[in-house]
């Protein structure tokens, strides 16, 4: 921002000869009366002369001074004439010009508007976007001029919208009608609220303009509704993939192996803290490649969580196979120990895990529908983890053994499957997948010792709803719950939506205790 201003200044200095602001107006900037100053600023702005930015900037920085009849810019020990930009002799005792808050605000607006004429298209785009929300009637000529000069189609359409907004207050009904028609193509709620007053008789006397406004409001409403719903479905999908990432590990340990692992949330936490640890490592040793800490943390998250899983299985869980309620209590104990261990190692406060720069920003599908990159990447990552799990369970020898052991343990043992080792490996796999889930969660939510507790109920709900022993069930349950929750949130608020969903699941389980996709035949108890 500052850089562009400086380049602008240099550029302006180079071209002072053929583009000089009106000296009379410049002199008015030094007037005693604030209103005169404001009027001068506005007039100077409408000339759309890039050179005036230099004067405004100096004024905002209190280096614009009055020396007799001339307005000068004092820069260190040099003085320039404000209007022409030529070097002049240092005046004897320059008077400073009072710049109060009103004028400061006016200057900021003026400089922002003048950015529309910047040489850099990105600066122009940013300026045009900024203008969408606050455009005043005085700016209409300025915007028209900017539109003429504009070559970039996107900026031009933004400017056209802004111009139409500025023209809404035009005294000429024809101009107003044109403005309303131009605005009908918008899909932003702000434009709609601008048009609503015009639909009323009291505010708009001209019938044609009023009818045009009414139909424009309707058109915009339809589009806003559609983009809102699209946005909700997308955030539902993204919530669904978050739920899925939280629940996939559990779908293996609980769904396939039948182990009630209440420490599942803490395995997510291990994954999230792996991201934190890798980030700290990169900050210390490879600050240049900080953006790549996240991919580097993927194996760490998987193996750290898997290692914790192996330890849990070997020391506690294996002694409790077949005693589910006891497993539940013992793993709850494990979760408490892991939480406290995280507090001791990393402190009780949440730690900060930054998004890499390539995850910020998003794709703007429609003016008010932005799909943030981090959400898109989470959805993609969920797909990646899902296919990883699918391949591991269905296409590898380990997966075959796991399925064999869960289907018929004695028979699997008879044909030479090392059942006890398979138990450990399968649990480690589930734990590792949970670690990957935690890694993804670290990008969108708080990372702290207690974070796992928030996911444990949700994760169990997804697995139970989907049907135990089913990966596909978990996927559908997670996505369904995600979209359902977000659509509910639209009209009931977040907490109520959450409660409704929980109650829905409780009722659903009463009706279909086997979940959405019941296992058939010999697997049924």
């Amino acid at each position: 921002m500052l850089k562009t201003l400086i380049t602008l200044l240099l550029m302006a200095c180079a071209h002072t000869a053929h583009a000089a602001p009106d000296p009379a107006l410049v002199l008015q900037l030094a007037d005693e009366d604030s209103s005169v100053k404001v009027a001068a600023i506005q007039k100077l702005t409408t000339t759309a002369d890039p050179d005036t930015v230099r004067i405004f900037k100096a004024m905002a920085e209190d280096s614009l001074m009055l020396a007799g009849d001339a307005v000068v810019i004092i820069d260190g020990d040099k003085a320039f004439d404000a209007a022409t930009g030529k070097l002049v002799a240092m005046p004897e005792s320059p008077e400073s010009i009072t710049v109060n808050n009103r004028i400061r605000g006016e200057l900021a607006n003026a400089m922002a508007a003048l950015e529309l004429f910047d040489a850099d298209p990105t600066v122009r785009l940013a300026s045009a976007q900024k203008l969408q929300s606050k455009v005043s009637a005085e700016m209409a000529p300025l915007l028209a001029k900017a539109m003429e000069n504009e070559t970039d189609a996107k900026i031009k359409s933004l400017l056209a919208l802004a111009h139409a907004q500025a023209n809404l207050a035009n005294t000429d009904p024809v101009a107003r009608l044109a403005a309303v028609r131009a605005l009908a193509g918008s899909s932003s709620p702000e434009v709609k609220s601008l048009l609503i007053p015009i639909t009323q008789n009291a505010n708009e006397k001209d019938n044609r303009v009023r009818y045009a406004a009414i139909s424009a409001v309707k058109e915009i409403e339809g589009r806003v509704k559609m983009t809102d719903n699209l946005g909700r479905v997308f955030s539902g999908l993204s919530l669904g993939s978050i739920l899925l990432l939280g629940a996939l590990g559990l779908a293996i340990t609980y769904g396939v192996m039948g182990i009630i692992n209440m420490a599942h949330g803490e395995l997510l936490m291990v994954g999230a803290y792996s991201a934190y640890a890798m980030q700290s490592l990169f900050r210390t040793y490879f600050p240049g490649a900080i953006d790549w800490y996240l991919p580097a943390a993927i194996p760490l998250a998987f193996f750290a969580a898997a290692l914790v899983g192996v330890i849990m299985e070997r020391t506690v869980i294996r002694w409790l196979y077949g005693r589910t309620l006891e497993t539940l209590l013992a793993t709850w104990g494990l979760s408490l120990i892991l939480i406290q261990a995280a507090r001791v190692l990393f402190g009780a406060q949440n730690v900060e895990v930054a998004n890499p720069s390539w995850m910020s920003g998003g794709i703007e599908l429609m003016p008010n529908l932005l799909l943030p990159w981090n959400r898109i990447i989470i959805v993609g990552f969920a797909l990646f983890v899902l296919s990883l799990v699918w391949v591991l369970m269905n296409k590898t020898r380990l997966g075959m053994f796991v399925r064999a052991v869960t289907q018929n343990r004695p028979m699997a043992g008879c044909v030479g499957v090392p059942t006890s080792r398979i138990d450990t490996l399968a649990f480690a796999l589930g734990a590792g997948i949970a670690g990957l889930g935690g890694l993804a969660l670290s990008q969108i939510s708080n990372v702290g010792p207690d974070m796992g507790q928030g996911y444990i109920v949700d994760a169990f709900m997804v697995v139970v709803l989907g049907g135990v022993g089913q990966l596909a069930g978990a996927v559908w349950a997670a996505l369904g719950l995600g979209v359902f929750t977000k659509l509910l949130e639209g009209w009931a608020g977040a907490v109520v939506a959450k409660i409704v969903v929980l109650v829905f699941i409780i009722v659903f389980i009463q009706k279909r205790p086997q979940g959405l996709f019941a296992l058939k035949g010999r697997f049924v108890e």
């Binding site: 506690v316 002694w319 006891e326 209590l329 104990g333 494990l334 408490l336 139970v464 929980l502 389980i509």
Partner: protein
């Protein structure tokens, strides 16, 4: 048979206790109803034997927990149903009575308004409908019993009818208490949101902070615990209790013999919820606060560990467990706060792995080996 029918009810309850339990009960009541109040009131605070207000509050609190533990043991130890949502019934009882206590504050709150402070803060003009009648002690006492009973009955009816059991049931109860916690966290629910109810001033017109009120509440809690214990002992030895235990051990077989497990389970489930509600109502005036965190998942699971530590399937076990775990908790959180969770976690693991019958089971084994070695020596 006829003679026993004519016996007064109370004797039948007592006849369920063996000699040792009666002695223990007598000692317990003597200590809680006579010794502790006497030591608190008669001795100066400097005396080494003085029982401080802190100790009375702590013991009163733990006795409430012990009632919850016995209630939990009834359904888990004897019915084989592990609930991870008993915190909800405890909290519902507490909230029901807390409403009465809030109304007793009257105009002494910080806003000096007729409405409870948090409603003034929310700019509410009148009490919501469900607060109606909450200024009456008896209505509050009825709610303490009715609300947990109705919630438990409805939930239990559907859950047991669809024959949900084992871990599924545990997870659903967990979801239930989690949903309730979220609901009570909302300010709009009308129960004080995050902060819940606190700053109580008086109960039935008596100051809630005076020693006498505290001792009365303490004594009532002790009586309630004793009554719960006696009633539970009678219940598990009755025919009903036998069928319940049979359902725990082989539900299908009991069904094929011709019993419908639904009503047996539903009764003990609702009873357990009511006991928790009463415990909650006794807890709130003694501790002076009730907030939604009582419904958190962690709190409800902790109830299970009290029972497991003491020894489930015995009735003295849960009481011992509640005392041991909670005394350990207050000691740890004062002396080594950072080690409490390690200790609690290890307790969960050690008890499930090594002490399936809890401390009571351990004691019994020790006693037997001691007897045996003595016999061998003689």
């Amino acid at each position: 048979m006829k003679a026993t029918m004519r016996e007064p009810f109370i004797f039948r309850f007592f006849s369920a206790l063996d000699a040792r339990s009666r002695i223990a009960l007598g000692v317990f009541l003597a200590v809680t109803l006579l010794a502790i109040p006497a030591l608190h009131l008669m001795l100066p605070p400097e005396s080494a034997f003085h029982v401080s207000t802190y100790a009375i509050t702590l013991l009163g609190k733990i006795m409430c927990y012990a009632i919850v533990a016995v209630a939990m043991d009834l359904i888990w130890g004897f019915g084989g149903i592990l609930s991870l949502g008993h915190g909800i019934f405890f909290a519902l009882g507490g909230y029901a009575f807390g409403m009465y206590l809030m109304r007793q504050i009257g105009r002494d709150g910080s806003y000096h308004a007729d409405l409870p402070d948090f409603m003034v803060f929310l700019d509410w003009k009148e009490l919501p409908w469900y607060w109606h009648g909450s200024d009456s002690f008896w209505w509050a006492a009825a709610l303490v019993v009715l609300v947990p009973a109705v919630v438990a009955f409805i939930f239990g009816f559907f859950a047991f009818r669809s024959r949900i059991k084992g871990v599924y049931f545990s997870i659903i109860t967990q979801a239930l208490t989690y949903a309730a916690m979220l609901l009570f966290f909302r300010n709009e629910t009308g129960f004080g949101g995050n902060n819940g109810f606190t700053d109580f001033k008086r109960i039935l017109g008596y100051s809630i902070t005076s020693s006498e009120t505290r001792l009365v509440l303490f004594g009532l809690t002790a009586l309630m615990l004793a009554a719960t214990f006696i009633f539970a002992s009678w219940l598990v030895r009755s025919k009903y209790g036998r069928v319940l235990t049979a359902i725990r051990d082989a539900e299908s077989r009991v069904m094929f013999i011709g019993y419908n497990p639904l009503w047996f389970k539903l009764f003990v489930w609702t009873l357990s919820a009511v006991l928790c509600g009463i415990a909650g109502a006794l807890y709130v005036p003694q501790v002076g606060i009730i907030n939604p965190s009582e419904m958190s998942v962690a709190n409800s699971i902790e109830i299970a560990i009290w029972v497991a530590v003491g020894g489930r399937g015995t009735l003295i076990g849960p009481i011992v467990g509640a005392f041991v775990v909670n005394l350990a908790k207050s000691w740890f959180t004062v002396s080594f706060p950072e080690y409490w969770l390690f200790f609690l976690g290890l307790l969960f693991i050690v008890v499930t792995l090594l002490l399936p019958h809890g401390l009571v089971g351990l004691w019994k084994t020790l006693w037997k080996t001691l007897r045996k070695s003595q016999g061998a020596q003689a």
